[in-house]
């Protein structure tokens, strides 16, 4: 028994010495930055998808965190952000990205905004923006999985598979009607997930949406020179 214990101790000691052999990389010596998108949009992924159907206005401002990997510093530090044009399909007019972000002294992250813009072209295609960290005097590029963020956005609409369940409240489907529904509900702060099987909306919740939309349509028609029509020229009703 005694010999066995001695041999085991020797083996563990050898293993420990081996582990010390390659030690030499520390983030405090070699600070890096990683990008983290809004948790609601990007949790568990490196990409964010957005539809302007549910956005109020023609601009969406997306918060992105530049998080340091390493110790906080007692001085301000700058991280560089660049657009990878090879992996970006969006026209430059459709977005705005700051070239750099300053991480304040004593802080382990800074938040910057990426602006995404709506345009007619987005009704027929989805565009992509690939931003990534570029090395600066203060930071090197972070780990591969989080050294970039992909933003994809469009204004494309497809008929939901569950429309039959909504028909009682919203009538026949048309793209313009659906666009009006999503826009109106989003503007009023309602949940735009209309899928009864996942949204938890009950009959009265959807009936209330119906009334909200009827009022919004009445207001639209009263304040525009012509009543709202769908893509086929038919009057939209609720």
């Amino acid at each position: 028994m005694k010999i066995k214990n001695i041999l085991l101790l020797a083996a563990v000691s050898l293993f420990g010495l081996t582990a010390c052999e390659n030690d030499g990389f520390y983030y405090q010596d070699d600070a890096r930055v990683r990008l983290v998108g809004d948790e609601n949009w990007t949790l568990g992924t490196d990409s964010l998808e957005l539809s302007f159907l549910t956005v109020t206005g023609d601009e969406a401002k997306i918060d992105v965190d530049a998080c340091i990997m390493g110790e906080v510093s007692d001085k301000d530090r700058v991280a560089n952000i660049i657009v990878d044009n090879a992996l970006t399909t969006a026209d430059a007019s459709l977005y705005a990205v700051p070239a750099s972000v300053t991480i304040p002294a004593g802080s382990n992250k800074a938040t910057f905004q990426v602006t995404l813009r709506n345009a007619e072209v987005l009704k027929s295609k989805t565009v992509r923006l690939y931003i990534k960290v570029a090395e600066s005097a203060d930071f090197k590029v972070g780990v591969n999985e989080e050294n970039h963020l992909i933003l994809k956005w469009s204004n494309i609409l497809t008929k939901p598979l569950y429309w039959d369940e909504l028909k009682e409240f919203f009538g026949e489907y048309s793209e313009e009607k659906y666009r009006f529904i999503l826009k109106t509900l989003a503007d009023k702060g309602y949940d735009t997930n209309l899928d009864p099987s996942t949204s938890g909306l009950n009959w009265s919740d959807l009936h209330n949406y119906n009334i909200v939309l009827a009022n919004a349509l009445a207001e639209y028609n009263a304040t525009h020179s012509s009543s709202l029509v769908d893509e086929n020229g038919a009057l939209i009703t609720f």
């Binding site: 009950n202 009959w203 009265s204 009936h207 209330n208 119906n210 009334i211 009827a214 009263a222």
Partner: protein, 552 residues
Amino acid sequence: MILLATMALFASCIKDESNSILTDFENEFGKNTIIELEFDSVRAGGSNMDPFTWSASLSPGQHISLPIKVKYAYPQNLKYTWVVLPYKAGRPKTYQVGNKLVYADADTIANTKDLEFDVNLAPDNYQFYLIAEDTITGLSGSYKAVPSFQGVEVVQEGFTQGLYLLCETEDGNTDIEIYTSALMLIYGGDNAYHNYYSELAGKTIPGKPRFIRGGTDGKISPYVTKNTFVIATDKDLYRFNKTGMVLMDSWDNMFYEKPEVFNPQKFFFQNQCEFLVNNGKLYTLNTDVANSRKFSAPIAADVNNYEAAPYLMKNTMTSWGATPNAINAAQVIYDQKNLRFLPYYAHKATFSGFTNTDKDAYLDANKLPANPKYIFNGGGDQTYCLMDLADGMYLYRYQFFNVADDGDFSADGARSILPLSGCEDIKNAKLFADYNAGAAMYYSSGKDVHAFSPATGETASHKLYTCEGDEEVTALYVMGTCGGGWPTSNVILFVGTWSESTKTGKLVQFEMDHTTGLPNTMWGPMFGAGDENPVITTGWKKIIDMTCLDAE
């Protein structure tokens, strides 16, 4: 084999007597193999003594006596079992157990023919059955005691039935007091519960009172079950559970989108839908479908162009005795902005409209000559409009209930327009008794109470009540039907008055003939309520509104 088959044939013949026994029942009752059970109205003292015929609910501790009459050839052979089981929509209640539905277990409450039972059941709806079984033959018969489709409701302790008086306190807040009378029959005689809410809750309801009406708790029900009070003050709108007056909702959480302007004007629950008029807009809460007990956004109209008057119809949809092509709207509102009536159909997002008015119609529902001074329900299912026109005061009577839209909603032909020149003080009238099942119109300017009936042919009003000193009339209320054909339904008018000098409220109870608008002492003496008419009680706070949940 042949031997065995032959023996079997003999055996079957030997026992073949049972059917002949059943058909051989014969004695002084005749041939009778059916066990018939029914309520014994003779021993009970009248058919109206059956507690399940008239009572919509039972209270814990209440005693039930149910004598039973049996028709059967051999009653001495019968063994009796009374069972009670939770009941809903015409059948025993079911419960989900695992992945299947099972029926609720029945409880045996007695083994006697007649039932003497002290209610000790948990709050729910129940059906009572009597099962009689012949111990010799095994024949059995049963009796379903509760005729109601939904069974009888055992209510939770803590609900005091009666006329709820919404009162203003001296410090400008709201309290509830309760009155019951012998004439109201089912509430156990003359009682007064002063300071009911404030003693129960330890505080008054903030704000000056506006109105009180029966509402729902939001549970899906195919019936109109009023089990909450919706109370408006000038500061808030509340929903109280009738049991213990527990606060359930207030203005801040009653809507999907809280209206910008707080101005609750009228509320009524009918046909599984709560209707609320707030600041000229109609809000709905449907209780026949899954709901979140919240009022919808305001019902829409063309270019959102309407302003609802504080008026809501009581009688709207009907399936019983319906006129072919009746409009059957869930509600009809009056739009003060466009001087028109607008029908609203159940579950819709927008108002509809009526067809163009017929050129021969006595009244135009699409364009009134002026906004009515006051609109209220009268004549059971008619809409009374008090019109203040250049040449005098008029009563316009419309009919929107159970009629087809033929372009003429006049309620009574040429008599749909009646001059009110013979009605004393009508010009200054500011209080009216809404929801009268009879034709009479009760009104007050605050001083005295008058009645005018379009049904009598008379052209003048009658003075019903004369105020004394500085006494002023503060509320009028017609007590409606109290559950089906309850004898004293629709015969009571309540008048609330207040004397500022004595700081005392008075409640005046008239037994009325609501058709003629004249006092009528008939049911009171018959049902032990005495022949005093009116019955006046004092010591109340300032009564601003009143309601009886069972009789709205």
